[in-house]
């Protein structure tokens, strides 16, 4: 690896980091706009034309607000909580293949930060780590409502991780690899995994909603029962980090869903268009982002449609419906692979 390659990698990391931050920022704006459209309203429209400067205004507000650390809170862990939340949210995007290889002069640029051969498991690890931010923050606040919110978050995440893992196993049985790059390449053209694994995708997306704590599974925050949720005691940018982490998580899980089930950067007829390799790659990146935006929109669409589950219903759904379904899916996939294929 020459210096140029290292520089390119570094630039790629910075770019992806900035893009995820930018998308998370504008997701907050999009969320409010989309909510408004679903409810026949206008949404934010004061800061800049159509309100597109709203995220900046929100950010400035967050930074300028008073920083409060409760007297009996555990000062150090109170700060570690949100930092951990946003950190785990950001590192998830490292293994996602954003596109094929770009060739510029003699350099071949791989549009993926790192292609480790256990990419899918890496994403799992990061997701399972995400719960620490919430738990530590909730406990360090020294507030029983925060603690209850944190405990809800932890049990919800652990429960749905199992179903998510099981739903992925059947996908891995058909793809035969754990590397996201290879999974994306196998879905060349039209052979998207959603066609082979519709049930697996259904389970995965439900679990993704639960893992990102989005409605209908946003149990960790609940005004009526928990005052606010695990971030009741947080204010200013520390609260901002928690909210921000949610949107980055949403972005990353949309990217994972697009890569695993919807062909990633592949689009139909990509090689019969008669374009040069580089143009196909760039188009692929655009297609991938279109898919990601669709999923982010879907997250919001669901949020403004379905009310929150009750806690026992949530656990019932996770343990008594999704896990058996996922296991049945594994068995079905196994049968299909041995007898039909």
């Amino acid at each position: 690896m020459g210096t140029a390659d290292i520089l390119i990698k570094f630039a790629l990391i910075v770019i992806i980091f900035l893009i995820s931050l930018l998308i998370a920022m504008y997701s907050t704006y999009a969320e409010r706009k989309v909510a408004a459209f679903f409810q026949d309203r206008v949404g934010p429209n004061r800061a800049g034309p159509f309100g597109i400067l709203q995220p900046l205004a929100d950010g400035a507000k967050m930074f300028l607000k008073e920083e409060i650390i409760p007297t009996h809170a555990n000062g150090f862990l109170f700060i570690v909580g949100p930092s951990l939340a946003i950190m785990t949210a950001c590192i998830g995007s490292a293994v996602i293949p954003w596109g094929q290889k770009l060739t510029i002069g003699t350099h071949v640029i791989d549009l993926q930060v790192t292609d480790i051969n256990v990419g899918v498991l890496y994403i799992f690890g990061v997701v399972s780590l995400g719960v620490y931010g919430v738990m530590i923050g909730g406990w360090a606040s020294n507030n029983k409502y925060s603690l209850l919110g944190a405990i809800r978050a932890a049990s919800q995440n652990i429960s749905y991780e199992i179903a998510m893992g099981l739903s992925i196993i059947s996908l891995l049985m058909t793809t035969g690899t754990l590397s996201l790059r290879e999974i994306a390449e196998q879905q060349h053209g039209w052979h998207w995994n959603i066609i082979y694994q519709p049930l697996g995708f259904l389970i995965f997306i439900v679990c993704a909603f639960a893992e990102t704590n989005r409605t209908p599974f946003d149990l960790p925050e609940c005004e009526t029962e928990l005052v606010g949720g695990y971030h009741t005691e947080y204010s200013s940018m520390k609260l901002g980090f928690y909210l921000f982490a949610e949107y980055i998580n949403m972005f990353v899980s949309s990217a994972v869903m697009a890569t695993l089930y919807f062909g990633g950067y592949n689009f139909p007829f990509m090689h019969s268009l008669g374009l040069s390799e580089n143009w196909v790659t760039i188009l692929g990146v655009i297609v991938l982002f279109a898919k990601i935006f669709f999923f982010i929109f879907f997250f919001m669409w669901v949020r403004w449609t379905i009310p929150r589950f009750r806690y026992d219903q949530l656990m019932d759904l996770g343990w008594k419906t999704l896990i058996p379904l996922a296991i049945a899916n594994i068995v079905l996939t196994g049968l299909w692979m041995t007898f039909i294929k």
């Binding site: 989309v34 408004a36 459209f37 679903f38 409810q39 026949d40 309203r41 206008v42 429209n45 669409w301 669901v302 403004w304 449609t305 379905i306 759904l317």
Partner: protein, 166 residues
């Protein structure tokens, strides 16, 4: 127990059938409904500061101190409005009209200072009813928001109607 009226409705809660328990059809139905709103329904928002809804005829907004046909202030600082005000929002200081000021004030006594505290005022319109000189009417706009309390005490500069032919 026998109900008094016959309006009792027996609620039956049947156990959910398979499709209802599977959530998905209901969720898809809900998604379709919200999508309909997203795509086809026009928003009903009135973009307030730029766009205003018409006020009703008896709307009571900001006060204005009226002038007569010759452009003279009608108020004679009798204090009846302040007296009738349930919120004690009005204060005034009266002064005597000097010779040569007949084109400014209609009566020989007038209000040199006339202040309404808009934070106290409840827009009941009793001042309007109390005034013997038909000098005060609540026919203005909505009071705009502001940052400081002192800016809500409106003096004559804001209350008195603009002079006639200018």
């Amino acid at each position: 127990m026998e109900s008094l009226s016959n309006k009792r409705k027996v609620i039956e809660s049947k156990p959910l059938n398979f499709w209802e328990r599977a959530y998905l059809p209901a969720i898809l139905h809900g998604l379709a409904i919200t999508m309909k709103h997203f795509l086809f329904k026009k928003d009903v928002t009135v973009r307030y500061p730029e766009q205003k809804r018409e006020f009703s005829e008896n709307f009571r907004g900001m006060h204005s101190l009226k002038r007569d046909e010759e452009g003279r202030e009608r108020c004679t600082a009798c204090g009846l409005c302040a007296l009738s005000c349930p919120a004690e929002a009005i204060t005034m200081i009266s002064a005597e009209r000097q010779p040569g000021e007949e084109n400014l004030y209609r009566e020989e006594k007038y209000a040199a200072v006339y202040e309404i505290n808009m934070l106290r005022c409840i827009f009941c319109g009793l001042c309007e009813e109390a005034c013997p000189k038909e000098a005060i009417y609540l026919d203005g706009d909505i009071i705009p928001a502001d940052y400081l309390r002192k800016d809500f005490i409106y003096g004559k500069d804001k209350l008195v109607e603009a002079p006639l032919n200018q």
